[in-house]
């Protein structure tokens, strides 16, 4: 483990232990180590002793905000659907949040999914999380049995090989173009503050936009061809909390259930549009995808549009209205046909 990660891990553990011991929080949401190299597990610590299982490294790729609404609800005293909420403050949850995760908490606050007063946020600046698939690709099909994280390197070793790769070369695509590495809200800041800057935030999208329409459609259909409809992308996403997702509706049935190309395409297009103006580009969808589909490019295109059309970036200000839930008289409306074509 790199020194920075070791320090951050220690501080997270200490703070979680302190908060759990003092009774300020009833549960602490973080990561614990996984059973394979480059894996981590989201983990809920409920006793001070559990805090020692918490870890921090470059493979904490899931977005913890995703777990918050259900975790908060699970800590409330049980009550019927028509019973009033209990009087007095409800139990709190502590959570580790990077830039994107904290922005998703802001989106959840805007959308009334979490109550800020019930959260204790430990902000950690992100150095960019590592894409396990990129490391696998660098190992050229050989199984990595051990991956050690140094300051700026990753030491990968397997049965009969060893290689050292530049950490930055394996950082996730979304982290490479991230402009908000630092948490936007937090109660405690842990570890060094990032001053990483990014140019060309939307270069990946511009390259796709520059394709002719049929090439772009081919790119899109090729990208989703391997989709198995497991919905890991949807379920890893903190924006997806509808009680019944449109793909699960059976009356009416909006979209077919198998992996026929038209159904798969419809799922991905609708999922992306549902995230327009709300997506923080946390990359959890892509990290969760077992098939390596780059579906974050779909949502990123919509982030670019929301940014260019409405100057909106998701999850920066809890008081702000989401761009698609509000109207301003000066909203751009080039798509409106104001004059009949002759």
């Amino acid at each position: 483990m790199s020194d920075t990660n070791a320090k951050i891990t220690e501080e997270i553990r200490a703070k979680a232990r302190e908060l759990l011991s003092s009774g300020e929080i009833a549960a602490f949401l973080g990561f614990t180590s996984g059973s394979l190299p480059m894996t981590t597990r989201p983990f809920v610590a409920k006793r001070p002793g559990d805090a020692d299982k918490l870890i921090w490294n470059s493979f904490c790729v899931m977005n913890l905000a995703n777990y918050l609404p259900a975790l908060l609800e699970s800590l409330e005293p049980p009550r019927g659907p028509k019973d009033p909420p209990p009087a007095g403050p409800l139990p709190k949850v502590g959570v580790v949040a990077t830039g994107c995760c904290s922005r998703n908490i802001v989106v959840q606050m805007q959308e009334r999914q979490v109550d800020r007063s019930r959260l204790v946020i430990l902000g950690v600046s992100s150095r960019g999380m590592v894409d396990r698939k990129k490391v696998m690709a660098a190992a050229e099909g050989r199984e990595p049995l051990k991956v050690e994280e140094g300051g700026h390197t990753l030491k990968v070793s397997g049965r009969d090989y060893e290689l050292e790769i530049d950490r930055w070369s394996a950082v996730r695509d979304n982290c490479l173009t991230c402009a908000h590495n630092n948490p936007v809200i937090s109660d405690y800041l842990i570890g060094p503050v990032s001053n990483r800057d990014v140019k060309d935030r939307f270069a990946q999208i511009e390259a796709i936009e520059a394709m002719p329409a049929n090439a772009r459609w081919k790119w899109f259909t090729d990208e989703i061809a391997s989709c198995i409809r497991c919905y890991a992308c949807r379920n890893a996403c903190p924006l997806c909390y509808c009680p019944t997702c449109f793909v699960d509706d059976s009356r009416p049935q909006w979209v077919g259930k198998s992996t026929e190309p038209a159904d798969t395409a419809l799922f991905h297009i609708l999922r992306a549009f549902h995230c327009a103006g709300r997506c923080t580009d946390c990359g959890a969808c892509e990290s969760a995808c077992p098939m390596g589909i780059k579906m974050r490019l779909f949502t990123r295109k919509l982030s670019k549009d929301a940014f260019n059309l409405f100057g909106a970036e998701a999850g920066l200000d809890p008081q702000a209205q989401p761009p698609l839930a509000t109207y301003r008289p000066d909203d751009p409306e080039e798509f409106l046909i104001v004059e009949e074509k002759k």
């Binding site: 394979l36 597990r41 899931m62 777990y67 199984e143 198995i228 699960d248």
Partner: protein, 340 residues
Amino acid sequence: MNILRLDINGLLDCLSSWAGGQELYGPVKDGWRRISRDGLEAVVSIPPGAPKAPIKTFFLAQPETLFTFSARHGDDDAWIPTPPKEAPNRRVLFGVRPCDARSIALNSMPYRDDPYYQARMDKTAVVGLSCNETCSTCFCKSVGGSPYGTEGLDILLTKADGGFIAEVLTSKGEGLLEKGTGTPAGDGDMARLKALRDAAQAGTSDTQALSASFKAKNLMQLYNARLWQGLSEPCLNCGACTFLCPTCYCFDIQDEVVRQAGRRIRYWDSCMFPLFTLHASGHNPRGEKIKRVRNRFMHKLKYFTERFGALSCVGCGRCIRECPVNIDIREVIRDLLSVE
């Protein structure tokens, strides 16, 4: 059983004849691809472990058209089911790992009387490639299999001494080989094969021990175990594990009508999805995540084992490799066995 020795050219000749005479499929990168005569080289060197895409795609089509019908009221045959026109083609699956082959045999127990599954089984010959090298996520030996297992296969190839030893296991396997293919295996080959098998089993006294342990466990004690809470907490409730799992075979059925042409399809379903058990009344007996996670493991390890005698897990390790939150079935097995 007939045992042959094949050199690489002999194998390429076989592949070439299969690719010409019927459909040949093999693992290419992460998926199963149709192999043409020009692409034979790609399938003879396969990386260790099972490929990401499960083999069940060939037996449990996604989707399977059960029948078609006209939804036009005036038609004489309106609403009358017509069997699907297309029968599955004859095909050879090449490079199937013993774990995946075993999944075909295990799945055919619950699908014993299913005409669609059985029709696909009849048309398919399975040529396996044993695992001289395994991955860290492989655990076939602990669930009743072997890196040199033959269950579910028509031919098993084992790489040895620069060539292959081919065990021809069934009459379908015999039918795949033209007369004069390879040479009869010598005593040295037999000894080599036995040595590889014995070495693979070394240290595992009884591969059936796990199913016996699960059969002996009290169902309700496992069901009510405390571990489900912590286990289900990180779970995203996605279907990555079930859809990549070769032995997850659950399905749902739906009618699709497009421009008054209807078809009833059977497609993969996952017990991880809330819709899986949703009743028409609105009640859902597995409404919470913890119940769905529990069901997945209980089905594989306890319910299936009690009913069919073996675990519904072949130890391919796909779910361990691909779970976004690293839920590891080996740990679940270990923890469940320690439930008192």
